[in-house]
Symmetry: D2
Subunit: 333 residues, 4 copies
């Protein structure tokens, strides 16, 4: 069984059904009936007026958000393990036309006001250095850690004091919200987030992510940037339909809860082997090469993550019954 | 009935079926079983080794192709009515980092060696001017005209003589091939094309286009550029599956033939009203505002295309029975 | 004698003297005593508060101005014979990160509200097309024609009505002002210009041009862009000193008057041969190849400018005595 | 007396004299007699055929070199204290269209094969990460340390083994060569350097630096990039003349030797206070705030460089007589 990545999982039934329903003639690009519902539907979810744009990838959502808030001669502060730094092949630099990522520390890939301040204070305020314009945090982080509303608010306070915008890479936003048990508003705009990459694909979607602007005016130029990037797909209704289907009846939350629950099962089994507390759907274990091999021999696949470390990611469709054998195998190591 | 755009049409049944079939666990990005078939399958179709990359939009296909062949300080020669010039919000400039589009003339948006030469000869060969690196032609053109293999070869001869690459925007490539009745190889690499944007979406696809490199080495850096643009979708198997489904049993050709046939029906009805010969699935008519209104009153929707002109586009799923009433209405004007 | 280009001329004595005077220890970049005088000195010249930045080339001045007023997804309207379109190797696209130049007509490379409106009206107001943000005019134009204050104001009225900024490429601004006999303010900010590339090099400077922002806030980000472009030279005092030297005692105007006077001498001699009225320091003549050869045989050098056309440019240091033999030779053709 | 920066120093007499000599009519841009001598003159200096381009700033030289060797989707390895990382406001990102700087360690801002290897080995070889294309080293470094030919060759061996190009930022190249006492060839192309930013401005020049390509083909596209960046000044002869004047009779070496000698004087006086060995013209001292204040009270100006640290830079024109009082004051602390 595969625990490589939640990107490997299939799309959930509601998404497939939505594609069939949307498979009718409608206006091209984002002029269709589904796309036109997004602003209102997502505003309702967040309890505040937002602008919501579908895009086909999380990288696109992240980078359009960053480009909306950072000029080419600016900088973005993020964790040195952030996806935008390590796994997007320089897409932030492409979309922002060369802004610089300034790298900060933090346990479990979580930034803190202190680690951000260290970067800010190391930057001279003169034209010889790029000046920070944005802080980008990932929730849940690349190590499956979750920023609470209080965590986010503390960072936002610093951001506001220094005139910076705040972006949340929410490739696993649903997992974070499911963990906290809060309203999605609490951990975003109410805590000071300006733009959210709201992930659906890892959580049971197929090819649709959502870029949510809590500062609505940021969407205006982004509409041009999205088109200019080739991201305004001509049959956009199929993307909007995926998002709407997963928002309906809280499927996005149910899927995330299921994945989190699977990870929690593994966490219990792993005990002292855990490298990071398990808060979302990722489990990082200390395992010897021999132990890793023995798990693989039992049919469990996962990535090595540095020497003596394994990463296991649980997907929305992996049931407790599927996961229990792995949990037992880990406990038995 | 809508004749606005083939982008308004639904996806064809084979595409929907393929999405269901692909809806299983597999490796993320382009490591899955479908994506890995593309090079071989498309090479077989063209009868020569190619590199074939899925992308979610035609703009992405065009611009990745152009970026592979034109440096930032270079220029691309295209028709002044080309989609890359008028309808992509500067995406070629974004992807190439600022290359310039040099605009040439030609009846029906078809370039000719003469009109290209006029642009080339107006460019001084010094560092004060951007130097042309690529010619981009659209087949079928924005006015539904088709470049034959001989047309393409004549342009390619000029391109080779001047050291230029040749790109074909094939958003409606299937319609062109169906019209000519040739092998897809004849009108591409055998006629000197280096890179093809092979369109599926307008022709019954959902969110997948294909970028085909006949000079395979161009794909190497493009793999990075695709990722960097946020175009390497994490569940790429759903894109590859769409393409493979339409290539199977020549569905791509059948769909295009159907659309072309519908356009031919209208062309016959239109007679002297035709602004351009109808070779693919687009029909451009001379109509007075009153005539246009009368057609709309009968329930036929389409775009005005300049004063006294209407554009009607036939989609893969519009049957002769659907179109005949419009043909009769046009004939009766 | 050379009439190729005013770029071929030496620097004027005041400039060389200023370099010697500035050849002392002072703060690097633009922290020196000369650079710090610029805002005030140039504000006094224009009779309004401006921000004035030295740069080492006219291309830099133009492109920093354009980048300050046009986003990457925007467009700049200019004449199809404009220097920024034809002679800067895509520098506007480089500095703006890929904005598009939309080309307008006009006799003698002079735009008019009508020719600009034609471009504006051909642009659809949707995200598929780049939207104009700036109009750029060249004064004096590439054909030596001059925009009067009324000409500029008419264009500015249109710009304001459409929400566009107005840039003036003043590589030969001094020649234009000298021709009109107005205050430099009259033909710039009082007529609605937002940013001026104020040329010194063709007019007796060595390596310093001035970028003048009449909307002062545009300078803020430009300071970063200038540095980021490698244009914030480390010994900037030598550039500021050149500019200040030429502003002193109206040397910039005297130099321009001298060059204009030389051109006027030739214009009188040329009579019907003139292709454009001579208003600044450039003369465009109709000459047969034989006539051109005969002038060259007499030792006069100049560029052919299209078939049967010659361009002669008079520099600040070419005296009437130097020019009269050419005038006589032209008259004798 | 000022010890802030060698950028604060005036130009040396030979440079001023050269400007006067060059102050005649000649062809614009780089078509003049001085510019045309550069390739040959610099090839002779280095004992190998090179292409040598003047540019007005060291940032331009660095970034044009990097852009010639690194694609937008690539990366450049440099020291975390490198000028290109910290003091050019993102110019490398601008010129390369968004390449990423990967930061390596090393005492005294000197990279070593080991510290470079650490960065290389941390980079996965897949399309999700930017791949290194260039190593950039600064000689002398930002802390006045010098790479010997053996140091450079060791890095070049690694570069070649990994398929990387090697750039040397030689803003203080003359000081490094003067320190080593080698031929400029020994520490550049013979040790594997592909491109050198050969600094003149800090060493007695005014507004001219040299970009030297030891792989001549890199110059071809760079000629376009230089123009496109607005760096092809229209009166280029004044830049070429500066460079030629300083190469004549080894003035460049004499100036550097003088500055190095001054620094050596201070180094002897400083003894244990030295933070870095003094090899070029920079001296970094441990001083308390009180000690720094006492030096300033005596009329010596310099930058604080982190807490308890001072940076003193000696310029070409600071004589032993000028420096001795400072040396004595330091010794007396």
């Amino acid at each position: 069984m595969r625990f490589f990545s939640d990107n490997a999982a299939p799309a959930c039934p509601a998404v497939l059904a939505a594609l069939s329903t949307a498979n009718v003639v409608d206006t091209a690009y984002d002029g269709d009936g589904w796309s036109k519902q997004l602003d209102e539907r997502v505003s309702a979810l967040f309890g505040t007026p937002v602008r919501a744009l579908w895009v086909p990838s999380g990288t696109a959502a992240n980078c359009l958000a960053l480009a909306a808030m950072c000029p080419p001669h600016g900088a973005i502060i993020c964790h040195h393990d952030a996806h935008i730094q390590n796994d997007e092949c320089g897409a932030p630099e492409f979309y922002t036309h060369g802004a610089k990522l300034l790298l900060a520390d933090g346990v479990g890939a979580k930034l803190t006001p202190d680690t951000i301040r260290a970067v800010l204070d190391a930057t001279r305020n003169d034209v010889h250095q790029v000046q920070p314009h944005v802080i980008s945090i990932t929730n849940a982080t690349e190590y499956g850690r979750v920023y609470t509303p209080a965590d986010v608010a503390a960072i936002s306070d610093l951001a506001k004091a220094r005139g910076l915008s705040l972006h949340m890479d929410g490739a696993r936003f649903a997992n974070a919200v499911a963990h906290i048990g809060c309203s999605p508003a609490d951990v975003t705009w109410r805590a000071g987030v300006d733009a959210l990459s709201f992930g659906f694909i890892k959580n049971g979607g197929m090819v649709a992510e959502l870029l949510v602007f809590f500062r609505a005016e940021l969407a205006d130029a982004t509409l041009y940037r999205r088109k200019r990037a080739g991201m305004l797909l001509s049959k956009g209704r199929y993307l909007a339909a995926q998002v709407l289907a997963m928002l309906k009846d809280d499927i996005w939350l149910d899927n995330a809860r299921a994945a989190n629950a699977g990870a929690a099962l593994l966490a219990t089994a792993a005990g002292d082997r855990l490298i990071h507390p398990v808060e979302a759907n990722e489990v990082f274990l200390r395992v010897t090469p021999q132990e890793a091999a023995s798990l693989r021999a039992l049919g469990f696949d996962f990535y090595d993550w540095g020497p003596g470390e394994a990463r296991l990611v649980i997907s929305w469709n992996q049931q407790a019954g599927d996961i229990r054998p792995l949990a037992e195998a880990i406990a038995a190591l």
